[in-house]
């Protein structure tokens, strides 16, 4: 079976941790949703509480440009 497609992948590499759960974030499955569209991605996620982290560079870069493109659809 072909690997599931992810539009973007960020590996926290053990540098981030969840304050509430006290565990390191891991590369986990997440999904961006906007204007009836969904994009599977892999982002830093807390393995316990499921907190998904969107770093500043991603929010202002790729996410912002995809938002603009979808808004003009």
């Amino acid at each position: 079976m072909a690997a599931e497609k992810n539009y973007y992948t960020i590996d926290p590499q053990g540098k981030l941790s969840c304050v509430k759960c006290g565990v390191p974030l891991i590369k986990g499955k997440a999904k961006f949703m906007y204007l009836d569209n969904g994009f599977p991605v892999e982002l830093p996620v807390c393995p316990v509480c499921g907190f998904v982290y969107v770093p500043e560079e991603l929010a202002l870069g790729k996410v912002a440009s995809v938002e603009r493109a979808l808004e003009d659809k």
Binding site: L16, K20, A30, K31, Y34, V52, Y53, A69, K73
Partner: protein, 762 residues
């Protein structure tokens, strides 16, 4: 906090507020694409403007290329042309028109002929025979050669020189030699010493797809027949020919005949799809004010030398209409004339599936209407963009993102920051002061001073209404929101006894004047009537007055502001584009929210008119100029001797409105009203403050995130040891990076995105 519903992306609605006919009739007003008058008068459609430009630059090779497009034999045409273009030259109105024909003659003689590309061109399959000699057959052969037909000319002469001599005997020897060389260079077959009879013709009819003939040959063979002159065609006889006397008529006849040959070769009716032939009219507007050289260059000899021709061509003022482009930063940014942009924006509204590539330009217009004043035909780009926005909203295709911040600000003004009270001691008032949302946000002290002054000096009570007039909803194309604001304000005004509105902002005045039955005036008119209060003074150095785009067409308002400035002792410097022709500062039409880059160019365009400090009478103008570092004052600051100081950031603008409201509630109406205080310290690094302003993140968005963190404890710790928390507020998720400092928080960074992010199972 109020919220606005985000649109879906897959819904298709069929509401249309704008029709193609409407947009066509609007686009028609733009004369940018109209031909210059010289070009319109030319039956051969020489691109005279480009031709003269090339000649003026001394680029005779390019000029000749342009001329050869209409003249296969340039020396012959330039000698014999009757030059209808010259009579139409706009310079004739001021002095001498450009001697276009003489420049053409010089270009034809001195221009370097471009390399012939005919050898490598693929020839058409259909072949053409031309019978006879004269100017018409010569030009027709030239035209058809350009169209890549295999052509054979049958003539009575014995050689090429004799053939050309009988057609262009008026050329001098040098010109004759040049044209003979040109003719030899063309891919045309010649058969000499022919004798034209019916039999000859019929014989050729079998060998060629289309037959053409000179008028004399046609008449000789078919003395009874008559051609259709506009087609240059003997229909019964299936012979392309017609009347062509003189050089000009022969050249025009050859053009028409070449088109007929084209149609016949494809077995099509020669009457159809011919386009516009011959001279046409033009509606082009030309600004003649910059015309300088009004006298024709007199040549040293009978003909111009190349230098003289270039100088004469240089007198051409290159007729074109760019009145709106000259003054509008928005049109300059998109480098498009409004007729074209209007059509593209209309098409943008009609897309059901696919990219709306014109959303940005549509939302970048400041809707200021300057174009409608500077355009000689009154083209109103604002109307086009406004209708298009309404259309996009009504068809649910308008993205919320470009306008959401401003729309939420409107809701904030009419909810948390809203205040409507009669003057203390009155139940109903004769007047209500409506300063406008930006005045309360940028210069709250000035608003208070003005209100207290009006209360003290006007009879019958002056109520106060702090809120938004609804212009933001209107500019965003959201008719429903505008209507809701209208109804809300009408209800509030009714409670006050329907007083006369004293507007503090020209745009509010304009917006409110659309309310049915509402009486409205400007504070500037009131102040002139009751006299200026004591304590006001003008600037101590000359200043430029920037007219508000909201006051376009309001001569009385513009005059009142000037009168107030004079009474304050202001010395005003003249600037181009003032009064009705004033540009927008970049705030209008929500340009500053939808397209910062264009809005910044608009502000720059306003400021480039003068180096002096700026006085304005719209608080948004004051704010944008001050943000650019220019000394900038609102006229009411000068009237009341207040100084709003440095421009506030987006959070301070909200805070100022709330603080003004609560202070007035407490101090004038004795109400208990206090700003909500945080029960923990919250501080921001200067970098965070600047970042929030640029990214349109409010202090209250940050507070929402911090409060969520305090409640849930959810955050992540990054490698620097700082915490990052987030919260979804309305249609956006806000992220805040901060440090915990004892009980409080120091904010380091903040960012946001509109996409929702969730954990995915599996």
């Amino acid at each position: 906090m109020s919220q606005i519903q985000e649109r879906g992306s897959t819904h298709v609605y069929k509401v249309n507020r704008i029709s193609k006919e409407e947009i066509d009739s609007m686009a028609e007003l733009c004369v940018y694409e109209q031909p210059p008058f010289c070009n319109a008068a030319c039956p051969l459609k020489l691109d005279t403007r480009a031709f003269l430009k090339a000649a003026a630059a001394g680029d005779f090779k390019k000029a000749l290329q342009l001329y050869e497009k209409i003249a296969p034999f340039p020396l012959i045409l330039s000698r014999g042309c009757e030059a209808p273009c010259e009579a139409k030259c706009r310079l004739c109105e001021l002095g001498d028109g450009v001697a276009i024909r003489a420049v053409e003659a010089a270009v034809a003689r001195f221009g370097q002929q471009s390399k012939l590309g005919g050898i490598f061109r693929t020839k058409k399959k259909k072949n053409v025979a031309i019978l006879g000699s004269g100017l018409f057959p010569l030009f027709l052969a030239g035209e058809l050669e350009k169209k890549a037909y295999p052509i054979t000319v049958f003539c009575e002469q014995e050689d090429l020189a004799a053939f050309l001599r009988c057609e262009a005997g008026f050329l001098d020897e040098e010109a004759f030699a040049l044209e003979l060389k040109r003719l030899k260079g063309k891919d045309i077959q010649f058969v000499f010493s022919c004798e034209f009879t019916r039999g000859f013709l019929e014989e050729k009819r079998g060998a060629f797809d289309v037959l053409c003939a000179s008028e004399s040959v046609a008449k000789r063979l078919f003395p009874e027949a008559a051609p259709v002159p506009e087609l240059m065609y003997y229909e019964e006889e299936k012979l392309v020919s017609g009347p062509a006397r003189g050089v000009m008529e022969a050249a025009f006849g050859a053009k028409k005949a070449a088109l007929t040959v084209d149609r016949l070769a494809q077995n099509l009716d020669p009457r159809n799809t011919r386009g516009q032939e011959g001279p046409v009219g033009s509606r082009l507007y030309t600004d003649l004010s910059e015309a300088k050289e009004l006298r024709r260059i007199s040549g040293s000899g009978a003909d111009y030398t190349p230098e003289e021709a270039a100088a004469e061509a240089g007198r051409c003022i290159q007729c074109h209409c760019e009145e709106c482009l000259k003054s509008c930063a928005y049109l300059q940014h998109y480098k498009k004339h409004p007729g074209l942009l209007a059509r593209e924006i209309y098409n943008n509204t009609q897309i059901i599936m696919g990219d709306h590539q014109l959303n940005k330009p549509m939302n970048a217009c400041s809707l200021c209407g300057q174009c409608s004043v500077v355009c000689p035909n009154g083209f109103d780009m604002a109307h086009v963009c406004h209708l298009a926005r309404q259309n996009m909203v009504s068809t649910d295709k308008m993205p919320l993102a470009p306008h959401e911040f401003a729309l939420l600000d409107m809701l904030f003004s009419n909810n948390e920051a809203f205040l409507c009270r009669p003057q203390p001691g009155f139940e109903r008032c004769r007047y209500v002061f409506f300063p406008g949302c930006q005045a309360a946000a940028i210069a709250p002290d000035t608003v208070r001073a003005a209100y207290e002054d009006l209360c003290a000096r006007l009879e019958g009570g002056v109520a106060l209404l702090l809120g938004c007039c609804g212009a933001i909803g209107d500019w965003a194309g959201r008719c429903e929101m505008e209507q809701q604001t209208r109804e809300f304000l009408d209800r509030e005004l009714a409670k006050l006894g329907d007083p006369i509105v004293i507007a503090g902002c020209p745009s509010c005045r304009k917006e409110l004047s659309t309310h049915e039955g509402l009486r409205i005036t400007g504070i500037w008119d009131v102040l002139l009537e009751i006299g200026l209060p004591a304590g006001g003074h003008g600037l101590d150095r000359p200043a430029a007055l920037h007219d508000s785009c909201g006051a376009r067409g309001e001569k009385q308002t513009q005059a009142a502001i000037r009168a107030i400035a004079a009474q304050l002792g202001c010395e005003l410097v003249d600037t181009p584009y003032s009064g009705d022709r004033a540009p927008c500062c970049g705030y209008g039409g929500l340009a500053a929210y939808a397209n910062r880059e264009v809005a910044a160019e608009m502000t720059e365009k306003c400021l480039e008119r003068s180096d002096a400090p700026y006085i304005s009478y719209c608080m948004a103008c004051r704010d944008r100029f001050a943000r650019q570092g220019r000394e900038s004052r609102h006229i009411l600051e000068l009237v009341y001797g207040t100084d709003a100081g440095d421009p506030p950031d987006i959070s301070e603008k909200r805070k100022n409105r709330l603080a003004l409201k609560y202070a007035l509630q407490r101090e004038l109406w004795g109400e208990e009203a206090m700003e909500k205080k945080l029960d923990y310290p919250l501080a921001f690094t200067p970098e965070a403050r600047q970042m929030m302003d640029e990214r349109m993140i409010l202090t209250e968005d940050v507070i929402a995130v911090i409060e969520d963190f305090r409640e849930s404890g959810e955050a992540i710790r990054d490698e620097d040891g700082l915490l990052v928390a987030r919260r979804r507020v309305g249609n956006a998720t806000f992220w805040v990076k901060f440090a915990c400092e004892g009980e409080g928080f120091l904010i380091h960074r903040a960012w946001s995105h509109r996409m929702k992010v969730v954990k995915r199972e599996g």
